[in-house]
Each structure stands twice: as structure tokens, then as C-alpha cells.
């Protein structure tokens, strides 16, 4: 843990994104140690998902920087960031509807393809096309290995996904689509995993299942940045909690500390969540 404190895996400095007159993300600083789990909470429209987009390259910041393992990765394309080991899930769910569960998760392993994607400049893409058509044994073996791995990842979800492995994703239930997204992210073998409301739209037992999975991933040493509205889950899992409101960081610290912060209560009060927070602390 000592080294982790010395060099955080992910660090954000003064990250800012404006849309016209609105500052969606306003000077956010954040350090995430290797193996840590930080949750970002805040009312709807606080800028949490925009922050995720900035970290994963889907959007570019107007100011500030993103460092990953000490390297400046600000404004890199999402493709390059994925190759560096950053995986994310999406708030509204973005599975590939017409692809089977297997293919969806295999796409997650895309950045790990080696045999079929030789790192040769210029003619690399043509070699890739040739290798995909010729399929020498190294390519076949790689594909087989990844398929086996996908089954192991899917087994984490018990009997939820394995029996549906060949079904197109559009035919899955909402909760199962969220699970496919997480499986896809895991197939990338991420060094940093960003989960955007993984339990949105799930019932209590499904939420508990998801919470168990995230705890398991954390225990395995995965570094996680989590956006979540369900405070109980946030309090149980997080090393630290960052609270955003109107783009700004209004509090950061251990869960219990943040929860009793008057600024946080005020930000949530207008949204009628302070009651929920009290109930949960009582429980």
C-alpha cells in the first residue's frame, strides 16, 4: 500500500469541461491508488458521467489533466486508452444488440489480440485481414483461448449468462445486459475499471448480487472507479467517496465522514435524499 500512495494509478488535476455556458465538470482533482475503490456520488446532472467520459477519452477536457500510472493521457482517443487497460461500462447500457453474448464479451478482449494483430506499422491492418482469412494455428489457438476465458468470466455471474451465451444481446433482460457489459469490461483485463451505475434498474436481490461481484473484484486487487446512487453499496465498498454537485467536488473522504458533511447533506436535501441517507445509517 505504501507504493500505491506514492504513485496513484489514476490522478486527475483541475479537470474541467464546459458545454456552452454550463460547466459540467469544474476543476476536479482526484487520486486513485492501485487496488483502491473510489465512488463518485452526487445528484443527477452533477457531472459524474461527463467525468467518466473525460477519463476514458470519449470527451476531451477544456482544462486540466488526466494521469495514468504517472503518464499524461489527457485527450487520448478511447481506442488508445482501452489499449492501456482502461475499461468502462455505460450508464444506459451499450451492449452490441445484434451480437451474441459470447461475441459481446470477446469484443472486450479486442485489445488483447496479439497473434491476429501483428504490431507492424503501415501494413499491419492488411496483415490482420490476411491472418483473419488464412487463420494459421496461432490465430486459432488465440481465439480458442479467449473463448475459454469468456466462459470463465461468464461463470462469475452464475447461471445468468452462461445458458444464453449464443443468444443475441438484444434478447436479454435489462439486468443481464448490464452483466454482459461488466463481463465485456473484465475481458479487457483492465488495470482500471470504471463502472457507471452498475445496479441501475436492478431489484434488491440483483443489486446485492452485483455488490458481491464488485467486492470480489476489489478483493482480487482491481482498481475501480464507481458511480452509484445506492448509498448503502457505496458505503460498504468504497475506500473513499467523492461527492459532486453542479460539476464541482463538494466533499471527499471516507464514506462515514462524507455522509455527515453538512455540504453533502445540503446538496442532497433539495433532492430529498437526506431521509434515505439517515435510514441507511440507522440500518
Amino acid at each position: 500500500m505504501a507504493e500505491a500512495h506514492a504513485a496513484p494509478l489514476l490522478s486527475l488535476r483541475g479537470l474541467t469541461r464546459r458545454f456552452g455556458g454550463l460547466t459540467a465538470v469544474d476543476g476536479i482533482d482526484l487520486d486513485l491508488a492501485k487496488g483502491g475503490l473510489v465512488s463518485i456520488i452526487g445528484p443527477n446532472g452533477a457531472g459524474k458521467t461527463t467525468l467518466f467520459n473525460l477519463v476514458t477519452g470519449l470527451d476531451r477536457p477544456d482544462a486540466g489533466e488526466v494521469r495514468f500510472e504517472g503518464q499524461d493521457i489527457t485527450g487520448l482517443s478511447p481506442e488508445r486508452l482501452a489499449a492501456q487497460g482502461i475499461a468502462r461500462t455505460f450508464q444506459l447500457g451499450r451492449v452490441f444488440g445484434n451480437l451474441s453474448v459470447m461475441d459481446n464479451v470477446l469484443i472486450g478482449a479486442h485489445t488483447r489480440l496479439r497473434a491476429v494483430k501483428p504490431a507492424v506499422p503501415v501494413i499491419g491492418p492488411l496483415l490482420e485481414l490476411g491472418l483473419a482469412l488464412l487463420r494459421p494455428s496461432s490465430v486459432k489457438a488465440e481465439e480458442e483461448r479467449l473463448r475459454e476465458e469468456v466462459k470463465i468470466i461468464l461463470a462469475r455471474f452464475g447461471e445468468r449468462l452462461l445458458p444464453r451465451i449464443d443468444q443475441p444481446a438484444y434478447s436479454l433482460s435489462y439486468a443481464n445486459r448490464r452483466r454482459v457489459e461488466i463481463a465485456r469490461a473484465l475481458a479487457l483485463e483492465p488495470r482500471l475499471l470504471l463502472l457507471d451505475e452498475p445496479t441501475a434498474g436492478m431489484n434488491p436481490s440483483e443489486t446485492a448480487e452485483m455488490q458481491g461481484l464488485v467486492a470480489e473484484l476489489k478483493a482480487e486487487g482491481l482498481t475501480i472507479l464507481l458511480i452509484e446512487h445506492k448509498l448503502e453499496m457505496v458505503m460498504r465498498l468504497s475506500d473513499r467517496v467523492l461527492v459532486m454537485d453542479e460539476g464541482k467536488k463538494i466533499a471527499e473522504g471516507p464514506g462515514e465522514e462524507v455522509r455527515s458533511d453538512p455540504k453533502v447533506i445540503e446538496a442532497y436535501l433539495g433532492h430529498g435524499l437526506s431521509g434515505t441517507a439517515e435510514q441507511e445509517s440507522a440500518a
Binding site: P78, E79, G97, D103, L106, L129
Partner: protein, 607 residues
């Protein structure tokens, strides 16, 4: 100096006409995020209705204009009610395909009613020219300017002060919010289509009078010009569409002044490609807009492909392979040869439009590149025909991919516009690059198909050759689809943002899809060239691109077997039923419309 003023006036007048088309497109795009490919057909209808009014009914000019506007508006309302409203909750590709189908049906109906020969459309105005500075201006110029300005004013008043106009603006800002506030979106759509069609129809009338000539080829040109102007101004932006139109008119007029008339369209399409590459949101959009909201729903219709047992495919291939040994007529073989050639093109398009979701409307350009390369190599450098065809395929793959690459950063309907424009550019370059392509004369005396020194002249040998090439291409494509590239392509089609987030580079994989697809199309074009022995810049036209698209939708997007089944069906069935040639395109258009409405996943299902 004086001629420059003339060119400026001419540019502004033509720009005014484009504005009438482009404003309609912008209104429709604003409300329904749809690029209406049928807009040019309404313009065509307007021109011919005007001809009926002027030449047969002898109506006075004001009445002609009103008559045209009313009839065109009715056509617009019919399109909205029966063509598009049923597709409201459909996949995103559906309304796009529907407007393409409607456009073909309307054009063909006009052609069947009035014959494809050009007609004169007299302007009904005195033929005098007024001296203005160093240039001249005629009453028709003034009329066009007047109609343009007064329509803009009327539209402004309507949008600004009428209740329905408010609803239109509200719906174009935020359709869902407008619906929740009780705006009747169907009425808004009706209003918008009615207005757009009236403007488009009047525009067709004025252009017909301006050139004193109307013909059925006007339709596609008008759609293209209107779309160029609209996109240059920023899709959905009504004032932007007006400025874009004037700019387009001026660029064309000056281009013609410097380089000559045959370059007119080239400038329009180059302007489009430049704007799409540099400022895909148009000249007047703010530099960086908020990223698009996550798109819900899929681009293509979700479906499960029909599983065809391997033995059925083997039996079918064997049956078609031994067919020439049976007592069948040359006519049957000839028909099937055409089907195999179309099948190769459909394989290419089903990969590009179906598997990776880039609905290309300029696919015939890939045929043309392959055909010209192969024809010229064998004719001027005496390259063996078999080798020339392969080189033609490679040239199509390389050149096609490079040409299409500016569209890689575009999405959805914009890809279709860009590919349509790029297809037109290829055909215009072939027309104008006389030192290489022999320009409008075309290439004749292309050597027949041959393989290893043996000429393939008998229908039987040509049949076997083209069938074998198609089967090989289909097997290669099936292999491609089952590799990691197949799933990567499909991932890009289903959700390009999620695909990028997982390391799939859009440029790399779209290039690979076009390289592979370009090769198949180029080979098809090459074989066709040696079969026809004569080609020119019109041999491979937009009609073929649309026919291939219909085949692909019929078979099921991305479906390899479907592409071939579709090709055999669309080439074969009209022969079986002995449908006259001039009705075929009409039937293809109707087939496309019915498919989009009732079986969007095609016969064998999307993959």
C-alpha cells in the same frame, strides 16, 4: 469584369433555387433527423406539373406557381402519411431506405407518364435583359429571386408567429419534450413535409423555366445539390441552408467560369466532401458540440438469421454448377450471369452496409473503377484478362477505400450522402479525365474474358467463370465474418462509441471492410467490362447502386447467402414474369418500400 458580375448574378440565382430545395430538407431534418432523399423527386414532380400547367392548361404564371405548390405539397403529405409515419418506431435505417425507395418510385412514375425524353418548359415571361452595372439580368432572374425571398419571409413569419410554427421549432429543438408538452408531432411532420414539398416543387418549376428544359435526370441532381447546400449550412439549420445554397451557387458558377460546364457538379461534390471532412456539423455550427446522447435502439432491425443447413448450400451450389450441362437456353444462362455479377456487387455492399453499417449509395463507383482499370490494362498494356480483373479488384479496393475515407468519421445518414457524392465524383472524373478514360466516348473493343490464354466466349464458359468467382468471394466473405473482424465490424455497426471504448479503431476497421468489399465490387466491374466489351461513364450508375441496396435489404443485411439469393430473385423474377424493362426500376423501388415496412430484416435475416 462584366462577365464576373454575370457569373455572380447567375450563381446567386441558381443558389436561390437550391435554397428552395435545401430549406425543405433542413426543415425535415430539424424535425425528424432524416435526410429526405425523395426531395429531388418532388422537385421533378413540380417541374412536370408545371409543364402540364403551362403547355397543356395554359395557366397564367401566378396560377402555375400556386398549382405546382399545391400539387407538390399534396405529394409531400402522401409521402409523410404513407411512407414515413408507419416507420416512426422503426430502426434508424428504415426511414432513410424508405425515402430512397419513394424517390425511385416517384421518378419512375414520372418517367413512365411523360417518357424520359427532355421537354421544353417555356418561361411565360418576356424575353428582355436589363443592364445592371456590367452584367445583365432578366425577368426570370427577378422572379426566382422574388420567389426565393418571399418564401423565406413567409417561412420566417410562419415559424415565428403561428402556433404550428412554434410547434415545429419546439419539435426540432427537442422532440420528446415537445411531445410531452402536448405538441402533436404528426401534425408538425405533416406541416413540415407539406411546406418542404411545396418549396421543392416550385423550385423544380423555376429551374425548368430557367434552362427551358426538364428531364427525369433532374431528380437525383436536385437531391444532391439540396443536400450539399443543407449540409454545408449545417443540417437542420434553416438560415444556414439558405447561406449554404447561395455559397454553392457561387462556387459552381465561378467553377464553370474557370473550368467549363462539365465541371459544375464536381465543384458541388468537392465542396460537400471538404465541408464534411473539416466541419461535419456545417459551416455555422459551433466549433465543438456536446457529444451525442447515447443512442437507444439499433441501427438495423434485430433478427435471428435463418439457419441454412450446409448440405442445402452444397446441393444448391452443385445444382447451379451443373446447370449448363442440362438442356437450358442461353437466355437462362445469360440471366444467371447477370445475377452472379450483381451477386458479387451485393456481397460487397452487404458487407459495407450490413455488416459494418455504412449504407453506401455510391457503390457503382467501385464497379466503375474495377471496370476501367481492367479494361485499360488489357487494352493498352495487353495484360492478360484474368490478371487485369484481379488488378482491377485491387485498384477498386485501394482507390475506393481512399476516396471513401473522408466519410469514416460520419455516421448514419451522412455516410449515405458522402458515398453518393463520392460516387458522383468518380463518374465525373471518368467523364472529364479524357487522356486516361477517353471521356464521354467511353472505351470500346475491350478484349473478351480469357483465362490462361483461353478465351471464354461461350455463355457456358462465361457462366462457369462468373459463378466460380462469386462462390469464391462468398466463401472468403463467410470466413471473414466468422473471424474476429466479423464481430468487430458488427460491433461498430451496433454501437461505434462502445466499440471505440474497447479499442476498436473506426478508421482501421472501416478501411478493412471497404478494402475487402471494394475488391469484390471491382472484380464484378472488371468481369462486366470484358463481357460488355464497351463501357462509358454511365455504364455503372446510381441505379445500380440502388438495385444492389435493394438486393441487400431483400436478402438480409450482412447476410452472405442472402445477398446471392436476393440477386437471383431481383434479376430472375422480372425475367420469369416477363416484366418490361421500364417497369423494373419501379418494381425495385416498391419492393424496397414493402421490405422496409413489413420485413426490415430481409428474407434470410440480418447477421
Amino acid at each position: 469584369m462584366s462577365s464576373w458580375l454575370d457569373y455572380t448574378i447567375n450563381g446567386l440565382i441558381v443558389g436561390n433555387v437550391y435554397a428552395l430545395v435545401a430549406v425543405g430538407l433542413a426543415l425535415i431534418f430539424g424535425v425528424s433527423r432524416l435526410i429526405n432523399f425523395a426531395q429531388g423527386s418532388i422537385y421533378l414532380v413540380g417541374a412536370y406539373i408545371g409543364w402540364v400547367a403551362v403547355v397543356q392548361l395554359h395557366t397564367p404564371l401566378p396560377l402555375t406557381i400556386i398549382f405546382v405548390a399545391v400539387v407538390a405539397a399534396l405529394v409531400g403529405l402522401i409521402i409523410e402519411r404513407f411512407g414515413l409515419r408507419p416507420l416512426q418506431n422503426s430502426v434508424r435505417i428504415a426511414p432513410l431506405l424508405a425515402t430512397i425507395g419513394i424517390s425511385f418510385v416517384l421518378d419512375q412514375l414520372v418517367m413512365l407518364t411523360f417518357s424520359p425524353n427532355p421537354r421544353a418548359l417555356p418561361s411565360q415571361l418576356p424575353d428582355v435583359r436589363f443592364q445592371v452595372g456590367g452584367g445583365t439580368i432578366g425577368p426570370l432572374d427577378l422572379l426566382i429571386a422574388g420567389v426565393g425571398i418571399s418564401s423565406a419571409l413567409l417561412l420566417f413569419v410562419f415559424l415565428r408567429y403561428s402556433k404550428l410554427g412554434w410547434a415545429v421549432r419546439a419539435a426540432s429543438q427537442d422532440r420528446d419534450a415537445a411531445m410531452q408538452m402536448g405538441v402533436d408531432v404528426n401534425r408538425v411532420n405533416q406541416a413540415v413535409f407539406g411546406i418542404a414539398a411545396a418549396l421543392g416543387g416550385v423550385s423544380g418549376l423555376l429551374v425548368g423555366m430557367y434552362y427551358n428544359q426538364i428531364d427525369t435526370a433532374m431528380s437525383l441532381q436536385a437531391t444532391l445539390k439540396g443536400v450539399v447546400a443543407e449540409v454545408v449550412g449545417g443540417a437542420g439549420n434553416v438560415p444556414g441552408a439558405v447561406v449554404g445554397s447561395l455559397l454553392l451557387g457561387l462556387v459552381e458558377s465561378y467553377g464553370v467560369a474557370v473550368f467549363g460546364t462539365s465541371y459544375r457538379n464536381l465543384f458541388a461534390f468537392l465542396l460537400l466532401v471538404v465541408v464534411l471532412v473539416l466541419r461535419p456539423n456545417g459551416l455555422f455550427a459551433s466549433a465543438r458540440q456536446a457529444p451525442p446522447e447515447p443512442l437507444t435502439g439499433t441501427f438495423i432491425a434485430p433478427s435471428r438469421p435463418v439457419r441454412i443447413p450446409r448440405w442445402v448450400l452444397l446441393v444448391a451450389v452443385a445444382a447451379f454448377a451443373v446447370l449448363p450441362l442440362l438442356p437450358v437456353s442461353f437466355y437462362v444462362l445469360q440471366t444467371l450471369i447477370n445475377a452472379w455479377l450483381l451477386g458479387m456487387l451485393a456481397l460487397s455492399l452487404t458487407l459495407v452496409a450490413g455488416t459494418i453499417g455504412q449504407v453506401s449509395l455510391g457503390h457503382a463507383a467501385l464497379l466503375a473503377i474495377g471496370a476501367y482499370t481492367s479494361a485499360l490494362l488489357s487494352l493498352t498494356l495487353s495484360v492478360p484478362v484474368g490478371l487485369a480483373i484481379i488488378v482491377g479488384g485491387l485498384m477498386s479496393a485501394a482507390l475506393g477505400t481512399i476516396l471513401i475515407s473522408p466519410s469514416f468519421r460520419l455516421r448514419g445518414h451522412y455516410v449515405s450522402i458522402a458515398t453518393l457524392a463520392i460516387g458522383e465524383i468518380v463518374s465525373l472524373v471518368i467523364l472529364n479525365w479524357e487522356s486516361v478514360t477517353r471521356g464521354p466516348i467511353g472505351i470500346s473493343g475491350i478484349p473478351p474474358l480469357s483465362l490462361f490464354g483461353y478465351d471464354l466466349i461461350s455463355p457456358t464458359s462465361v457462366y462457369w467463370f462468373s459463378f466460380a468467382v462469386m462462390v469464391v468471394l462468398a466463401l472468403l466473405q463467410a470466413r471473414l465474418l466468422s473471424s474476429h473482424l466479423g464481430r468487430s465490424f458488427r460491433a461498430i455497426r451496433d454501437d461505434d462509441i462502445a466499440a471505440r471504448a474497447y479499442g476498436i479503431s473506426l478508421n482501421r476497421y472501416k478501411s478493412l471492410a471497404f478494402i475487402f468489399g471494394g475488391f469484390a465490387a471491382g472484380v464484378s466491374g472488371g468481369i462486366a467490362a470484358h463481357l460488355y466489351s464497351y463501357i462509358n461513364h454511365e455504364t455503372f450508375n446510381t441505379q445500380q447502386s440502388i438495385l444492389a441496396l435493394t438486393v441487400v435489404i431483400l436478402g438480409g443485411l450482412g447476410n452472405v447467402v442472402g445477398a446471392i439469393v436476393g440477386a437471383v430473385a431481383l434479376v430472375g423474377l422480372p425475367e420469369v414474369f416477363r416484366i418490361a424493362a421500364e417497369y423494373r426500376i419501379l418494381i425495385y423501388g416498391i419492393v424496397l418500400l414493402l421490405l422496409v415496412r413489413f420485413r426490415p430484416q430481409g428474407l434470410l435475416g440480418t447477421i
